[in-house]
Amino acid sequence: MSAAVEAPDMPGTPSDGVEKRQVTQVGWKAAGGLIVIAALFALLLVAAPRDGATKFALSRGSDALQIPLLEIPAMPLAWSCLVLMALIAAISVARTLANRTTSIWAIAAFGALFLVGFLAWAGAGSSGTLSIVSLLSGSLLGAVPLIYGSLSGVIGERSGVINIAIEGQMLAAAFTAAIAGSVTGSPFAGLFAAVLAGMLVALVLALFTVTHRVNQIIVGVVLNVLVLGLTSFFYTQVLVPNAATLNTAPRFGSWTIPLLSDIPVIGPVLFDQAPLIYLMYLVVAGVSFALYRTRWGLRLRAVGEHPKAADTVGVNVERTRYLALLIGGACAGLGGAFYTTVAIDKFGLNMTAGAGFIALAAMIFGKWDPVRAALAGLLFGFASNLQNVLSVVGSPVPSQFMLMVPYVVTLFAVAGLVGRSRPPAANGQPYVKG
């Protein structure tokens, strides 16, 4: 996939003979990837052309500002997108040949074009409309647990503790939020209980991995199953017989933010949501600030990169890791609360259904950075939601393949095909003093 391109100044031997030479390489991964995707899309359009037009709705019926329905002939739109995609791929190839990297914006534009083209193809000839607002708003909602969960992973792993137990943290949180909400009648109580549950699972993780230095992956995997077993057991034994009193949770309504929510398309998507979503904006920004600009963040990152160095300047490694895991657990708790305080009003068996693992994937894809991880969470939320929207317009793509997307993308990411992600250096390693 990658070829070494020697720097042009290489053969000239400097007479002083002391400087170490550098042979720089620009890999073919980016350009190659773009070419492959463009080619596959072209193949799809040629092999399975579809007739008719695709209807895009850019506003909801209730919105103040109404935008007329866009009805665009599907194949011409798809082909135009493909042409532009091919253009970007060609530029990328040219830049790679000139030993320069492809800009991230070009790749983003490529992705957006691909998406529009694909939607046009998938929705062609359908009587249904593709509601962009509900597509985006559904993506955002689907991304909420992923983003909160990935923050749990980011904070924990930046301190050097691998957190496979995000799934368990969220499931436990969803379970307790349902009970606390049902008993008190307040979604805020549910939220609070969820945070505590997330932190409790984190505490167990910390106890075993930080204090007892047990392999972090094994503890994470086992905690997921322990929480699944516990919640399933108590659900069957306690919640089902007492559903009316213990498993009928109140939900947050949406809080419409005046003015902002009137912005076309993104207004209703971003600013007509439950408070948990607004909190998410704050938490992502807050974690990012705290990680890079505060004493706590500096020490946390130092502990995750080189715990002994941190120890030798008086940073308490174990306490830092405990705190990081607990804060992460609180984040995952908020993510779990989404299920039973926003999405639906009762707990169901194994209701997180693998979201914790997509959150893990978002963390990796986001290169252990809160903002990038949140963006990756949005992307994965979008991929899951796209499947729902496409089934409305009767898309020919089997739903299972859409659901697979986050995992496949992550597989490519960890294999280094989508840019190398480098985890914190001490990630996964228990710290022993001395």
Binding site: A4, G17, V18, E19, K20, R21, Q22, V23, T24, Q25, R293, T294, R295, W296, L298, R299, R301, A302, E305, H306, K308, A309, A310, D311, T312, V313, G314, V315, N316, A425, K433, G434
Partner: protein
């Protein structure tokens, strides 16, 4: 500040690492702690620095008893440490590393600008020229060490501990470090200098305390002879020279020409290196750690991926071959880092002795291990190479450094060799084993095998070599006879070719 250690005792299980050690360091003095590898020097300093808790004894600063729960307490009390393995976060900037642990700023928000200012201030005071925003991983080791010093000084340390600080430095850089240490001493700091190098001790120390097997065995004055210091350190008379006759060349020949190795980051780490080694002679590769010697030896064995140029052994091309094939051609290899590259710590001595012959006869027949043969082989190797152990089933990780190295040596030398490559063969090894290992290397040479020895210790290189090749930044500075003066070699290690200062090229 006056530092006093009284009766410090530290045990690990049944092993007594420090046995009632007393030590006093006065302000304005450089106190040298001299001892062999494994004598317990670093353990003592870890106790002083709060990383270990002493089982007995106490630490006093200006006659006040201190209780350190961790390094934070030790630093607060005015103790600073320049660690042997730098305690720097590679992906952090200089300023971030310096401020870590005592960050300026209010309300928990970092004030990076004042950290930068502090770095600039201290580096100007010592003439360091450091960019506070440079990432540690981009800096050469010598500069990284200065960051360590700044870290300690930024905390107003009055007691400074230098733990084996010269291992990674050129002779010139070592001289500069000594000057810095004197400057610090003259400004009133108490300095503890831990080392096992006699030359440095005599050069810079005001007082010397010698440690052996965890005990203080005596004090010495800087005017004592090398032999006296060595025998005090080791506990017996030490053979300080390596006896070898004039080389008797055989027909064996290693020829390396135009060798280039590029590392993962795209840097050319071995750059157009050419040399020849004849059967029956030792070529020592000298140079400061990290100038391409490691990669050169790895390339000889086929461990490097991006290699161009040519390596021929007795006329047969070795480049591009797998490690397996190279080993099968009769190349013996002692890696620089034996615990990571040479041995499997959890494996028994017997298993380690067959480690690089695990694919065929005599240790394996039709896919099955030949346990009886393996054990017989191991018993005879252990006896022949004087490996001191309870038995061949002992996991090799439990042996001392010297005995581990003997296992590696036995495994490699008991094959039929046509080339022997040893990287840092005596690093972290006790003096008794050093003597044994040197004798084995000379015996291999005398058997007519071409031998390549890499050593960053100039003394070892000159003692073993018939010719010395000095490397700097991946290139060969020159190949000179082993009788070349030490000063010339020192300058070559800093990249200055021998002809320019009157040296003699071979």
């Amino acid at each position: 500040m006056r530092l006093e250690l009284r009766g410090i005792t530290k045990r690990f299980g049944a092993l007594v690492a420090n046995d009632h050690i007393d030590l006093t360091v006065e302000p304005g003095e450089i106190h040298c702690l001299l001892g062999e590898n494994g004598a317990g020097k670093s353990t003592l300093m870890n106790v002083l620095y709060g990383l270990y808790e002493a089982d007995e004894g106490e630490i006093l600063l200006d006659d006040e008893v201190q209780h350190f729960a961790g390094p934070g307490d030790a630093m607060a009390a005015g103790i600073g440490m320049v660690h042997q393995h730098f305690m720097l976060v590679p992906v952090f900037s200089v300023a971030e590393n310096v401020m870590l642990g005592h960050e300026p700023g209010s309300g928990g928000v970092l004030d990076v600008e004042s950290a930068r200012r502090q770095v600039r201030e201290i580096s100007e005071r010592f003439g360091f020229h450091l960019d506070p925003d440079a990432l540690i991983e981009d800096l050469p080791v010598g500069v990284q060490q200065r960051v360590e010093i700044i870290k300690a000084l930024s905390r107003n340390a009055d007691v400074l501990v230098f733990d084996e600080p010269t291992a990674v430095l050129t002779p010139q850089e070592t001289d500069e470090l000594m000057a810095i240490m004197r400057q610090l001493r003259d400004s009133g700091a108490s300095i503890v200098f831990i080392t096992h190098k006699l030359r440095e001790v005599r050069e810079v120390a005001d007082r010397i305390t010698v440690v052996r097997h965890g005990k203080v065995v005596g004090e010495a004055s800087p005017t004592a002879s090398d032999a006296d210091l060595a025998s005090l350190m080791v506990g017996r008379a030490v053979e300080l020279t390596v006896h070898k006759d004039e080389p008797r060349y055989s027909t064996g020949l290693l020829r390396v020409s135009g060798l280039q190795v590029v590392d993962d980051a795209g840097a050319v780490v071995v750059d157009d290196v050419s040399f020849e080694v004849r059967g029956g002679e030792v070529l020592a590769v000298a140079g400061v750690q990290g100038n391409g010697q490691t990669e050169l030896t790895e390339a000889l064995l086929g461990l490097q991926d991006d290699v161009s140029g040519s390596i021929t052994l007795d006329g047969e091309e070795l480049t591009g071959r797998s490690v397996r094939k190279v080993l099968d051609r009769g190349v013996g290899f002692v890696p620089e880092d034996r615990t990571h590259d040479g041995l499997v710590g959890e494996f028994t001595i017997a298993e380690n002795l067959m480690l690089d012959r695990s694919d065929g006869p005599p240790f394996v027949r039709s896919g099955a291990l030949q346990l009886a043969y393996r054990d017989d082989f191991a018993r005879s190797a252990v006896a022949e190479y004087d490996v001191r152990t309870l038995g061949i089933d002992t996991p090799v990780g439990r042996l001392s450094g010297g005995n581990q190295q003997k296992v590696v040596l036995a495994r490699e030398l008991k094959r039929n060799l046509r080339l022997f490559v040893a990287a840092q063969p005596t690093r972290g090894v006790d003096v008794g084993s050093i003597e044994f290992i040197h004798k084995q290397i000379v015996a291999t040479r005398d058997a007519g095998v071409p031998v390549v020895v890499v050593s960053t210790e100039l003394d070892e290189a000159t003692a073993l070599a018939d010719r010395i090749m000095v490397m700097y930044r991946g290139r060969v500075v020159g190949i000179v006879p082993s009788t070349t003066p030490r000063d010339t070699l020192g300058l070559m290690m800093a990249g200055i070719p021998p002809v320019e200062h009157g040296g003699e090229a071979a």
